[in-house]
């Protein structure tokens, strides 16, 4: 029974790691330790299972001048969640969380439908939807960085009320959820450019821009330092308030992009059920991608892999003939496995079993 005693904390908790490199074993260790190995293995595992149960899984063909196939489909369907998850990765990197992304999507959708009804220029509508996402991010950021409210609580407010706001916006024109057509928005969402679906290009461009911002400016370092230790970041001259605010702005903006894609896809605004549970999928993707909810690190590439793992699971359940209801259960099991693998207690237990077997 050691539950009652504080765990013995050595004065220097530095764990001594075997030196990497040199011996082949060391190189293997270095490879296993690479942060992308686990998420990639999870993705590979799902895809291998897919290939086994449905032989034609990886087939890609061209239909009506556009690529089709399960793999394309995974990317295609994952795109809105990927946008949200990238924003979530940034926010989680600052030790925060954004629960309101689903609500932001609902609000953006409602604004698009409303302004369509009013007959605005579609380009202006696009800008308005994105601005609405920024405004929501500003609100969250204000609560977190200025009022210093815990992120999970601060973003809960918009999460609870956001879909209601969407419904209210719909009421502005009667709220009958009419469907609309817009060459611009639907072009972005369901159209294709050459062989490639447009939304994949949009997603790639946004990912690249975000990557530039996080890794090719010092912004990423500032985000991570604020997430790791806001006090020291401040003392090192980092404007922590501005950095936090920006993180929620980014998340709001990316949720708005997802909102545009999803709304254009369904041709209508449905604030109550659009993107339900998307915040949970996004958080899950960040965690699968190696991010810790304790903050301090942003893994954009890992997050994308995390989204793909989740979407591949969904797609493979669909193609395998299992009823789609299994999706949630499978997702839950995956989360549990990932969490157990990430826990140091579990690793210690596994190591001790292995060591005992060797001895």
């Amino acid at each position: 029974m050691n539950t009652q005693t504080p765990s013995p904390k050595p004065e220097q908790p530095a764990t001594r790691l075997p030196s990497s490199g040199g011996a082949p074993a060391g190189r293997w260790l270095a490879l296993i330790r690479h942060r992308l190995v686990w998420p990639l293995m999870a993705l590979a595992l799902v895809l291998i299972v897919d290939a086994l149960i449905s032989p034609g899984f990886f087939n890609v063909r061209i239909v009506q001048g556009r690529l089709f196939g399960n793999v394309i489909d995974i990317f295609y369907r994952a795109m809105p969640t990927a946008m949200v998850a990238l924003g979530m990765a940034v926010v989680i990197g600052t030790k925060g969380i954004d629960l309101s992304v689903g609500s932001i999507i609902a609000i953006c959708g409602a604004i698009i439908a409303w302004r369509m009804h009013q007959g605005d220029s579609h380009f202006v509508i696009l800008l308005m939807a994105l601005a609405a996402g920024l405004a929501c991010g500003l609100w969250n950021g204000f609560l977190v960085s200025v009022l210093e409210i815990q992120p999970i609580i601060a973003t809960l407010i918009l999460m609870v009320s956001g879909r209601g706001i969407g419904l209210m916006v719909n009421l502005l024109y009667g709220g009958t959820n009419p469907s609309f057509t817009s060459p611009l928005l639907q072009g972005l969402s369901v159209g294709s450019l050459g062989l490639i679906p447009t939304r994949l290009i949009v997603g790639a461009v946004i990912f690249f821009l975000l990557w530039l911002l996080v890794r090719r400016t010092a912004f990423g370092l500032f985000l991570e330092s604020v997430g790791g230790n806001a006090k020291s970041a401040r003392l090192a001259g980092v404007n922590a308030r501005f950095v936090l605010l920006s993180a929620y702005l980014i998340s709001g903006f990316l949720a708005a992009t997802a909102g545009v894609i999803l709304t254009a896809d369904t041709h209508t605004s449905d604030p109550v059920s659009v993107a339900s549970n998307i915040e949970l999928d996004a958080i899950l993707a960040v965690v699968i991608g190696g991010g810790s909810l304790a903050g301090g690190r942003i893994f954009l590439d890992g997050t994308i892999i995390g989204v793909l793992v989740i979407q591949a699971l969904t797609t493979s359940i669909l193609t395998s003939g299992l009823p789609p209801e299994y999706n949630l259960v499978v997702k839950a099991v995956v989360v549990l496995i990932v969490l157990l693998l990430q826990s140091s207690n579990m690793r210690a237990a596994v190591v001790s079993v292995l060591v005992r077997r060797k001895a």
Binding site: E11, R16, A218, G228, A233, L235, G237
Partner: protein, 497 residues
């Protein structure tokens, strides 16, 4: 007299560290026994073993002649060994009653009898002569009262030993005196008291005997008469004091040049009385004073980490309206905070990222320092400061305390400061790193940097400073330089009331 508690040959090792090496320690009934040692000497490990928070690898503990093996703080307390730890102690959101009775709540018909619980709480406090409303949350009382509540909690009815780990760290003089009265009273009732404090003068006021630990070994034990303060300090730090005195800079005033930073009447209500300070190139100014005297606050006000509400700060003669860390950094002023873990390092980030953080924030977020430049600066710093790390991409949280401190110094130095503010630069680091940092401070001053060094270690200040500003009770009470700068004179200045 037979010891009430007797620890014999206690050893304890952590991975890579031998925290205790066959240490003997005993307390007699009615005795206050001070346990002294520098950070990392093994004091906290020893009391954790004594109070069941840790289990020793070897050795025996005898309580009133009977061997015991406390497996948890609860078990130790039940056996009669109470402890008040330095930081975590009570739950501020809970009532005093709950804090005092948690884990031993009296019951009636299976449910908690709050009337009885309140009575127990009042009785426990009454033994210490404290009479407060036991229904209010602990957090609504002053730190001094909280300290007494913690002691009341630690003392079972049949307590025989009480361990006080830095109990006076955040108390003022009156509160300390009240605590000492209580300690004397408990002593008179036959309790054995283990007293740990870094205030040497307090040790001589309250303790009967002293045990000194260094690097996990007992290096001295004796009555307070047998170990006078000079011997105590030399036992603790394991060096000749004279040796340090020799290395002192000549304390001569630096050739009158234009000051880099001038503070005139700078202060903040309820935090620090207004003070004047001038810092010249090539000059080291020390900030001396007891804990809580306002050393850290002075450093932070000068840096802009805390806003001042009176006076003005000038850098190079330019008035800085509202100094912030960012302004100061841009003007070439950097700061290494005292609390490394909570204000200094970003544990998750690598050595490299930690080192370039301040420089990068000075450049702004758009102009990322090129990676090659980052690597060059980092490896330069690792070499110059002798930072022990396998590579620059290791998370800084995995380094030892001394190396973390060096990384913080590197963060300051890499941004090419003209004024460097160091708050407790040698706290909690080993002797080797300690000496390296003292040498470094001298070298930096010789290169023309201005330094403001706050430290609780007087000898360290004497070893590096050209002038020493002395603080007492949140007020700057004097500036000492030249021949006046002796240990005795500074202690007198601190002690004068």
């Amino acid at each position: 007299m037979a010891a009430i508690i007797e620890l014999t040959g206690i050893s304890k090792a952590f991975p890579g560290v031998r925290a205790l090496d066959h240490v003997d320690f005993g307390v007699e009934p009615g005795e206050t026994h001070a346990l002294m040692g520098e950070n990392g000497a093994g004091k906290s490990t020893l009391i954790k073993v004594m109070t069941g928070a840790l289990q020793a690898d070897g050795g025996t503990i005898r309580l009133a002649g009977k061997e015991i093996r406390p497996e948890s703080p609860g078990a130790a307390r039940a056996a009669g060994i109470g402890a008040v730890y330095q930081e975590v102690n009570l739950i501020p959101t809970m009532s005093v009653t709950k804090n005092l009775t948690l884990g031993r709540l009296p019951r009636k018909f299976g449910l908690i009898d709050w009337g009885a619980a309140r009575a127990i709480a009042r009785a426990k406090l009454a033994r210490l002569g404290v009479d407060i409303d036991v229904e209010r949350p602990v957090g609504s009382y002053s730190v001094a009262i909280q300290q007494l509540i913690a002691i009341a909690r630690a003392l079972e009815d049949d307590a025989r030993v009480l361990v006080l780990d830095e109990p006076t760290a955040s108390l003022d003089a009156n509160e300390t005196e009240r605590l000492f009265e209580i300690v004397r009273d408990l002593k008179a009732r036959g309790l054995g008291i283990v007293f740990i404090s870094h205030f040497i003068d307090q040790v001589y006021r309250i303790a009967d005997r002293i045990t000194v630990l260094r690097n996990g070994r007992r290096v001295g034990v004796g009555t307070t008469e047998e170990i006078p303060s000079l011997k105590l300090v030399s036992l603790m730090i394991g060096r000749d004091l004279e040796h340090i005195e020799h290395q002192r800079p000549l304390m001569d005033t630096v050739a009158s040049s234009k000051p880099i930073l001038t503070a005139k009447g700078v202060g903040r209500r309820r935090l620090l009385e207004p003070f004047d300070l001038e810092l010249h190139p090539g000059e080291v100014v020390g900030l001396a004073g007891l804990l809580g005297s306002g050393r850290t606050e002075t450093a932070k006000l000068v840096f802009g980490a805390i806003r001042h509400d009176s006076g003005e700060i000038r850098i190079d003669g330019h008035h800085i309206a509202s100094p912030t860390p960012k302004h100061s950094l841009n003007a070439g002023v950097t700061f290494c905070p005292e609390d490394r873990k909570s204000e200094g390092i970003v544990a998750e980030l690598s050595v490299r990222e930690n080192i370039i953080l301040a420089l990068q924030s000075r450049r702004g977020w758009l102009r990322l320092l090129p990676r090659r430049e980052q690597d060059r600066l980092t490896s330069e710093m690792i070499a110059a400061l002798n930072i022990a790390t396998p590579d620059a991409d290791k998370p800084v949280g995995q380094l030892s305390g001394g190396n973390q401190q060096k990384v913080l110094l590197a963060r300051s130095l890499v941004s090419n400061p003209r004024l460097l503010i160091l708050d407790e630069p040698t706290r909690g680091i080993d002797v080797g790193a300690h000496a390296e940092i003292v040498t470094l401070i001298r070298e930096l001053a010789a290169k023309g940097l201005a330094l403001l060094v706050a430290s609780s270690e007087l000898d360290e200040l004497l070893a590096v400073s050209h002038r020493i500003a002395v603080l007492r009770d949140r007020r700057m009470v004097g500036e000492i330089s030249g021949a006046e700068a002796t240990r005795e004179h500074i202690i007198q200045t601190i002690a004068a009331s």
